[in-house]
């Protein structure tokens, strides 16, 4: 029982981390109808900026405090993500208004390759460290109930809390602010939004900025866990089944999807894996998402699209 609970909790926390990346996909899709293949590259780019700036800041300023270095690095990395968002809007999206979804998708694929290359070109392709003081040692709870207790990974727990806070803030932003409503209007229909005076270009910059900041938070958390290196870009692949399952237009869907995928893949690997040779968690996540799609093609919380014939 204790082991089942441990796996379940581990899965839930891993799921929250996937959600963090999945939210980036959802944000951009909600606001522009674009499935942003560059989300993983944005996570890598942001994490590289954070890691390298926190390394360089003490040398530039002569202040060796890690808190100072991390704070300045966070601000600088945030500014870089803003510049990236602005450039993407200026150089790519502005020229693709009202184009087919597939065209925009291919454009984000190109952006992904560019960001990966430019990021590694500017910041290097070695393994870099983000040390924001996340605890690495485990804690054991309920030791008097279960022998050996239940293991909780403190780092994952804190990361899950941060992810939850971010999700709460984004939900409020989308539901309660004028900009949030404008973002949703743009997502619904570019032309209609423009006709009522919503500035499409500004909205796109804003949403790519928000997605950039989300990528920065995800990059810091994943970078602190795994080290900052190219593999961070592949983390986005882990978030794909989450958005398929949760629905591309729903922030709460990304969270619930993340939790289901996280728990599903961990339980499958631990309890089913030994019977089929193990190493199944990645494809199992996709299979789980596909099974859900058979019953709800729009995902758990996605909007059902009804077209008038």
């Amino acid at each position: 029982m204790a082991f089942f609970l441990e796996t379940l909790i581990g899965g839930l926390m891993a799921g929250m981390l996937y959600s963090l990346v999945a939210i980036g996909f959802v944000l951009i899709f909600k606001a522009s109808g674009v499935f942003n293949f560059a989300q993983g590259a944005m996570v890598l780019f942001a994490a590289l900026a954070m890691a390298r700036f926190s390394e360089w800041v003490p040398g530039w300023t002569g202040v060796s405090s890690p808190l100072f270095a991390n704070s300045v690095a966070f601000v600088l990395a945030g500014i870089m993500m803003f510049v990236v968002a602005w450039l993407i809007e200026r150089l790519v999206l502005r020229h693709l208004v009202n184009q087919e979804g597939a065209t925009l998708l291919m454009a984000t694929l190109g952006i992904a390759y560019l960001l990966e290359g430019i990021g590694q070109g500017i910041f290097g392709n070695d393994i870099y460290k983000i040390d924001v003081g996340m605890p690495k040692e485990p804690v054991f709870v309920l030791q008097n109930v279960f022998e050996g207790g239940i293991l909780i990974n403190k780092e994952d727990f804190i990361a899950a809390l941060i992810a939850a806070l971010l999700v709460g803030a984004l939900t409020l932003f989308f539901q309660k602010t004028a900009t949030g409503r404008a973002l949703r209007a743009v997502a619904d229909d570019h032309q209609a939004a423009q006709s009522i005076g919503i500035p499409l270009n500004r909205i796109w910059v804003i949403v790519w900025c928000v997605a950039g900041v989300t990528a920065l938070v995800a990059g810091i958390i994943w970078g602190s866990k795994l080290g900052v290196q190219f593999s961070l870009a592949t983390v986005a692949m882990r978030a794909l089944p989450v958005v398929i399952l949760g629905g591309l237009t729903s922030v709460p869907g990304a969270i619930v999807g993340g939790l289901i995928i996280g728990v599903g893949e961990k339980l499958s690997e631990v309890f089913l894996g030994p019977y089929v040779g193990g190493g199944i968690e990645i494809w199992f996540a996709y299979m789980l998402a596909l099974v859900f799609l058979m019953f709800r093609p729009q995902g758990l919380f996605g909007e059902k699209i009804i077209d008038r014939v």
Partner: protein, 444 residues
């Protein structure tokens, strides 16, 4: 008219002079081509890059010292991102360039599997120092494969020997649990037959825990380790998988002192991000470790980096994977030089001639010391039947800041490995309808 004659004379004189100048240069233009398959980008880039830099820096060092008995080394890189299909593409693209490839070192077990038959057809030797197919030690069947210095069966065998020594003998292994956390690829699967063989012999239990590429998600794996409580964990990872394993071990409280990595899981990129969290973690050393004080490193610093010709950053010179690249390069070059002893010093060698050289390598300690490898490695002697040449392995341990040797030298147990090699290579020969080479054929 006079002016025309003067111009003609001047032109002829210039022509004569230039031919005098170019003649020696033409005579020196003997070049031996080495394709270099690398992965400097992608998930495995941080590990592939130092190997490639060491490999190329040694070429530059040899060229700076006058080449291979006067033959200059030329090389061309091809980036394949540790993807088997792209690795094969690189091989195909480079094999015929500059008069033909001397040999190929793919730095990937997957690519080695894919190239084994192609290389035999193209007559290009494949050096797979410390990786590749374990049964390819048998040169009678695998005439073109050279798993020099050690295979994964050697690594697994030495790991079990070391654990047995720590436990007080092989008999103490009975009832123990040893988990293998491995990269779910041909590379990661290679040690399984040897471990199962040793498990049968000594009565321990092997738990197999595959990790999917690239290995960034291992929570389920380490929860299973926490539940099963193995006495030891063998780590057969590559790239980000290694540091992730160490971080998960820390997060689940598994003692790093009980963990033993293969030599591809025992370098700086695997531990530097984990730092003190990896303290006590052990890994096998394919003879060498980090060797910043070796003579060959000093030579590279002076004659390559000192002349601004270094391939990578100066700080990585002498690190573990950099040294692996240097060793791989040296073995290749010594193979060519050995071939030259038979087929003509100062001549360009064909693939077939180089194969003979690699198959008759005889690097004793004096020769190695002379090349600058004193303290770095032990003698290597290959033959037609033994394309590996040696199986010396040590263990080194991460102290939180650097690798330190923590064991004496081991050699793989031939009594265990040889029958496995003969059985597996025999099966391969049967499947591919190959006739193993006879001792007479080997001499040719």
């Amino acid at each position: 008219m006079k002016l025309r004659k003067l111009a003609l004379a001047a032109s002829l004189a210039t022509l004569g002079l230039s031919s005098l100048i170019t003649a020696p240069a033409y005579a020196q233009a003997k070049e031996q081509f080495f394709p270099v398959l690398v992965y400097r980008t992608g998930a495995y880039g941080p590990n592939g890059t130092p190997w490639a830099n060491g490999y190329i820096d040694y070429f530059k060092l040899v060229n700076a010292k006058g080449g291979m008995n006067g033959v200059k080394i030329i090389f061309e890189e091809c980036e394949f991102g540790y993807a088997t299909d792209r690795g094969v593409e690189c091989y195909e693209r480079l094999k015929g360039k500059h008069g033909g490839a001397t040999l190929v070192q793919p730095l990937s077990t997957g690519v080695t599997f894919a190239l084994t038959e192609k290389a035999a057809t193209d007559k290009i030797p494949l050096i797979t120092a410390g990786y590749g197919r374990s049964e390819s030690q048998n040169g009678a069947v695998f005439a073109w494969n050279f798993p020099l210095l050690g295979t994964y069966w050697v690594g697994a065998d030495v790991a079990i020997q070391h654990i047995a020594k720590k436990e007080g003998g092989f008999d103490k292994l009975k009832g123990k649990k040893i988990a293998l956390v491995y990269h779910d690829s041909p590379y990661g699967k290679e040690p399984i037959p040897l471990l199962q063989e040793r498990a049968k012999m000594h009565g321990f239990d092997v738990q197999l825990l595959p990790v999917a590429h690239p290995g960034v998600e291992q929570k389920a794996t380490w929860l299973q380790i926490r539940q099963n409580k193995p006495d030891y964990v063998l780590l057969w990872g590559w790239g980000v998988m290694n540091s992730t394993s160490l971080k998960e071990a820390q997060a689940t409280g598994y003692p790093r002192e009980k963990m033993y990595g293969i030599w591809w899981a025992g370098a700086e990129p695997d531990v530097k991000d984990v730092g003190a969290g990896a303290k006590g973690y052990n890994a096998l050393a394919l003879q060498h470790g980090a060797e910043p004080n070796s003579k060959v490193v000093k030579d590279i610093l002076a004659m390559v980096h000192g002349k601004s010709q270094g391939t990578g950053p100066k700080e990585e010179v002498g690190q573990v994977l950099y040294m692996r690249g240097v060793l791989s390069s040296m073995l290749a070059i010594e193979g060519v030089k050995k071939a030259q002893e038979r087929h003509g010093r100062g001549k360009i060698m064909s693939g077939e001639q180089v194969r003979w050289g690699l198959e008759n390598l005889d690097l004793d300690q004096k020769a190695l010391d002379g090349l600058g490898f004193a303290g770095v490695m032990r003698p290597v002697q290959t033959s037609c039947l033994d394309h590996m040449g040696s199986s010396w392995v040590r263990v080194h341990t991460w102290d939180g800041a650097k690798w330190n040797f923590s064991s004496d030298w081991y050699q793989a147990d031939e009594k265990v490995i040889r029958p496995m090699v003969m059985l597996a290579s025999g099966r391969y020969a049967e499947e591919k309808k190959l006739k193993p080479r006879t001792p007479e054929e080997c001499k040719q």
